[in-house]
């Protein structure tokens, strides 16, 4: 409560302070791509000669409050021409919208985002990719994958082959808040991790925060990946797509009512398995391995002050092997948003979000041995966010959010009449959550900017549900009592304050120093003790046994641009401490276990590292080099004899090189090289014999390192000349994954040699190189 009072007090203080100042007026508006009507996120509005300026928010809106006078505004956005506009500010005005199109047509020099953003922004440990940049990233299997590209950034460790899990600054793959149009995505992988769920054709921007996560967001310890889809072309109908060996995709968009409303629908399907249908073997024809997904968006501009959006995502993966087994999983999300401009300085966004994840597995080994297993969770959130721009020194945002989640830890059912299995269902978990936040970006002077935010979350696990109490240690043998909770009866409440602080000191026009401190709480826990995000995947809320995990992170960095901002460089160091992190006891029994708390222990994890980044932004050759040195360890009482051990995704060195070269307007080549220290695994030190079987004795957890991981991919794009004159524009993309066929261990098995009977270690690796061809088009 004290926090609430403090929050409202500081807020009113800042507003009244503003109102008492001299006569000022506000310039506000939306910045759009003049060609498509698409709002541009993060476009820069600068007041020439003053150093004052702002950027557009997630909905393309900006607001600048200045004293009366005449100003020249410079508006720029990556890949578009910067424009200048003179304004006489005698009253508050709303600027006309389609600014960038006119200039682009008259071929003004194409400039980037605010060129020195790397240095001047208070944001650190963050990376933004715009639609234009995403399009230019190296394509693998014929498609650009945002997550794969994010894995090449400093501080993000690769998990290995075929894994789109993100391991950010020592965080696990369940510690990332991945949002698509504000809706959380609980599992971002397709096709056992070869693709991510994000179809790049539908994306407008992707922004990754490794630290300095805005107070508006919370709920995960390690990162925020904020992905926004495009709104759809407001001016004309268009189609974009690609036909490839592995998958095809198509996006259709256009105005419903010109300049007022638009739609976008985008779909993908892989069809590797359709080729199996051509097989002469009927059993092979029966195998399935595919995914599909659909993104859809509608947006309506009701009037200058009101706008609504509907966005949805639905995707499914199916992996079926003959009649023996089938697994299927997928996410579904839906978002409704209402943007309302209260006045020139106050922007409001109301969001209603639904997101769900489902997983199901069918096994059938003879009619008596057939069953189905399902698990999943669903979330509904209502959010109210405000942006308030009192003057050029302050950018204030605040808001509230409430969520309800339902977790289905597992349902097991026989699928034939004579199945030996009996139906078993674990009781659902339910939770409600309320969040409140306030954040202010305060420009103290030309050199110093501070962003301070505070987030408070109250989280409660509620009924209906079942819980167990124990005598002494939490073990199945020690169960004392079973408690049943009725609907919305409080089981356990948790909560806490999450301060977020970052500051920037501008040394000169080309360099700055930034520092940040972050506290994040995580109230939902992924129970999956395998490295792969599949197949076993179950979420549980914080309750009387699982305390919320807490991460405290400090980071500092030096940012420097060279050669008139053509090169961006940064060096960052961080230390992150995480408490109440979960790990699993040896031989944990997680499947349909109603006392899951007996299989899990909690303790501390910590990570520290150095991240170096150099990016070349302009010219025919662009790209980046990133290097990360980091160490991630855990110490959990009851696991590994209470001794410290390495997290299974700990890699000491990570190196990435991404290069894109445009030879001319017809040919472009891109490539990337990845190197990572081998990940730690558990391999046996000794063997024993029991009844003819060879058992193993393991040393400490994760005490052996696999060989280093390295790989190079190439992607070559040919754009025919005739494109220029035609409406139909096509291009060919040829890509090779793992060009030099590096044998990277995907996993290592202990095996017995069939001839000698001796024990061996067998590495499994993906076949390589994997070539792919895709024809991309737009009309």
């Amino acid at each position: 409560m004290r926090f609430l009072i403090l929050l409202s007090f500081s807020f009113w203080l800042s507003i009244t302070g503003v109102l008492a100042q001299q006569k000022k007026h506000t310039i506000s508006g939306n910045i759009k791509d003049g060609k498509t009507g698409e709002d541009l996120i993060g476009a820069v509005v600068m007041v020439k000669g003053t150093g004052e300026g702002t950027v557009t928010n997630e909905y393309g809106f900006f607001s600048l409050t200045l004293p009366e006078g005449t100003y020249t505004l410079v508006i720029s956005y990556l890949g578009f021409g910067a424009i200048e506009k003179e304004v006489q500010l005698t009253e508050s005005i709303r600027l006309p919208f389609d600014l960038l199109e006119e200039v682009e047509n008259i071929q003004v020099t194409v400039k980037g985002e605010r060129e020195d953003k790397n240095v001047t922004d208070t944001k650190m440990s963050a990376q933004t990719l715009t639609a234009e940049q995403i399009k230019k990233l190296p394509a693998l299997f014929g498609e650009v994958d945002v997550i794969k590209n994010i894995q090449t950034l400093p501080g993000v460790a690769i998990a290995g082959e075929g894994n789109t899990g993100l391991y950010v600054r020592g965080g696990g793959s369940d510690q990332n808040l991945i949002l698509i149009d504000e809706a959380p995505v609980f599992n971002a992988s397709h096709l056992l991790g070869i693709f991510s769920v994000f179809n790049s054709d539908a994306l407008k921007s992707a922004e990754l925060y490794k630290a300095g996560i805005p107070a508006q967001y919370g709920g995960r310890l390690s990162s925020l990946l904020d992905i926004r889809t495009r709104d759809g072309n407001m001016k004309k109908y268009s189609a974009t797509g690609g036909i490839g060996l592995i998958s095809s995709r198509l996006t259709l968009e256009g105005p419903i009512q010109k300049d007022k409303s638009s739609f976008l629908i985008s779909g993908r399907r892989t069809y590797a398995d359709l080729f199996l249908k051509l097989s002469s073997d009927p059993k092979t024809r029966n195998n399935q391995l595919y995914f599909y997904d659909v993104n859809a968006k509608l947006n309506f501009k009701l009037n200058d002050n009101n706008r609504i959006f509907f966005a949805g995502y639905f995707g499914r993966d199916v992996f079926k092997f003959q009649q023996a087994f089938k697994i299927a999983w997928g996410n579904g999300t839906g978002t409704f948003r209402w943007n309302h401009i209260f006045n020139d300085r106050v922007f409001s966004n109301t969001t209603l979000i639904y997101s769900s994840f489902k997983f199901s597995q069918d096994l059938n080994f003879g009619s008596a041995q057939a069953f189905n297993y399902t698990t999943g969770l669903a979330e509904t959130t209502l959010k109210q966010d405000f942006s308030f721009y009192p003057n050029t020194s302050h950018d204030i945002s605040f808001g509230v959010a409430g969520s309800y989640r339902n977790y289905k830890p597992g349902t097991f059912s026989p699928t034939t009449d004579n199945s030996i299995f009996k139906a078993t269902k674990l009781a659902d978990y339910n939770s409600i959550e309320g969040a409140l936040y306030l954040s202010d970006k305060y420009k103290i002077s030309h050199r110093i900017t501070v962003e301070a935010g505070l987030r408070y979350v109250l989280f409660a696990t509620v009924g209906p549900g079942t819980a167990y109490t124990y005598n002494g240690e939490i073990k199945k043998e020690n169960i004392r009592d079973t408690i049943h909770y009725s609907s919305f009866q409080n089981v356990q409440t948790h909560g806490g304050l999450e301060p977020r602080l970052s500051g920037r000191y501008l040394i000169n026009d080309e360099s700055s120093v930034k520092v940040s401190y972050n506290r994040n709480y995580q109230y939902i826990h992924l129970i999956s003790n395998a490295l792969s995000p599949l197949p076993f995947n179950m979420w549980v809320p914080s309750n009387q046994y699982f305390k919320p995990a807490i991460a405290d992170q400090v980071a500092a960095g030096y940012f420097r641009n060279f050669k008139e901002n053509a090169f961006e460089a940064s060096a960052e160091i961080y230390y992150k401490n995480m408490t109440n992190v979960l790990d699993y006891i040896d031989n944990a029994d997680l499947l349909l276990n109603p006392q899951i708390e007996t299989q899990v222990k909690s303790g501390r994890a910590w990570s520290y590292g150095l991240e170096l980044f150099l990016k070349k932004k302009t010219g025919k050759t662009t790209g980046w080099i990133s290097y990360t040195w980091s160490k991630t360890q855990r110490q959990i009482p009851g696991i590994n004899n209470g001794e410290t051990y390495y997290a299974s995704y700990d890699r000491r060195h990570n190196f990435n090189l991404v290069v894109l070269h445009e030879f001319n307007d017809r040919y472009s080549l891109s490539g990337n090289f990845v190197y990572g220290t081998g990940r730690p695994v558990g391999l046996p030190g000794a063997r024993f014999e029991y009844d003819g079987y060879v058992g193993a004795v393991y040393p400490q957890r994760n005490s052996i390192r696999l060989q280093a991981y390295h790989r190079m991919d190439l992607s070559f794009t040919i754009t025919p000349r005739k494109n220029k004159t035609r409406k139909w524009k096509g291009s060919w993309n040829f890509s090779i994954y793992n060009v030099y066929a590096s044998k990277n261990p995907w996993t290592v098995l202990t095996t017995t040699n069939k001839d000698t009977g001796n024990q061996e270690l067998t590495m499994i690796y993906f076949p390589a190189p994997i070539p792919s061809v895709t024809y991309n088009f737009t009309f």
Binding site: K283, F319, Q323, F325, G366, S367, A368, Q369, K422, T424, N529, A530, L531, L534, P535, Y584, D586, N587, A588, L590, L592, S648, V681, G682, L683, P684, G685, A686, R687, F688, E689, Y690, G692, Y693, V694, G695, A696, V697, Y698, P699, Q700, R701, I704, Q707, K743, W746, T747, V748, L749, T750, T751, T752, N758, Q759, E760, L761, T762, I764, Y765, P767
Partner: protein, 263 residues
């Protein structure tokens, strides 16, 4: 299972890794079955990749005793095996096993759960057209039984012409189950292995203790481990022995049925 499919689809290569040494441990494989004498084997662990056989201990001192005061000293009968000749397994008793090997004492206790009788009701035939990788062409004997209520644990062994069906080593399967997901009336449960006309299918069903199930379940997890990618991280087996020995003192009842496959 996913791994089985992916192994088929991917490439494999035997690699050389410097494994961590772990201290050598005593391994005890001990069982007392209903109506039988105790049988124990004592060996030691060996470095994982060396092809030397696991060392056998032939001079251990082993005593089995029950809660009625009976004692039986086991005699070495060769190849590290020790056998009793006084105490015969009985569901009413609690048994304690004391092993002294290389100057260290190890002990464990067990009970013997009552056996569950079953019948082989017939066999299902899977034709070549219906067969798949996990369900090959052939005849699959079917089992009918009624399980006792409560949490119970079982071990299955399948023989073809009185030879244990699968090669063991590191890749063999251990067929165990608990009653967690299984109904009490079982009718039509198929053997996991196929038989052909003329084969004698023999099925042994052991009802075992919880400790026995846990150990065999952990051992099975080791055999099927994929390095922690899809499976749980590899871990040591649990044991009911004290003092750091590896192994199990298993108590159980065995029921056996046979079926000669005819077309």
């Amino acid at each position: 299972m996913i791994v089985t499919v992916l192994v088929t689809a991917s490439c494999t290569k035997v690699i050389d890794v410097n494994l961590k040494d772990v201290p050598q441990k005593t391994v005890i494989q001990a069982e007392i079955l209903i109506d039988s004498f105790a049988l124990v084997r004592v060996t030691k662990t060996a470095p994982y990749l060396q092809n030397s056989p696991t060392p056998i201990i032939t001079n251990a001192f082993i005593v089995i005793s029950d809660d009625a005061g009976a004692k039986d000293t086991l005699d070495h009968i060769g190849n590290g095996y020790y056998k009793g000749d006084i105490i015969i397994g009985n569901t009413a008793r609690v048994y304690a096993l004391d092993v002294n090997a290389d100057g260290k004492d190890y002990s464990a206790t067990t009970t013997i759960p009552a056996g569950v009788s079953f019948v082989i009701t017939g066999r299902n035939y899977v034709s070549a057209a219906e067969a798949n990788r996990f369900h090959k062409e052939g005849y699959y004997p079917t089992i009918k039984t009624t399980l006792p209520p409560g949490e119970t644990y079982y071990l299955f062994k399948y023989y073809k012409n009185d030879t244990l069906y699968v090669p063991k080593g590191n890749e063999g399967n251990i067929f165990i189950t608990d009653s967690k997901f299984i109904g009490t009336e079982i009718d039509g449960y198929e053997t996991p292995y196929e038989y052909q006309v003329g084969d004698v299918a023999r099925i042994d069903i052991y009802r075992i203790t919880k400790e026995g199930y846990n150990f065999l379940n952990d051992l099975s997890a080791q055999l099927n481990n994929d390095g922690g990618f899809f499976s749980t991280p590899p871990a040591n087996t649990s044991t009911n022995f004290s003092n750091g020995a590896v192994g199990l003192f298993l108590g159980g009842s065995r029921e056996t049925e046979r079926l000669t496959i005819v077309p």
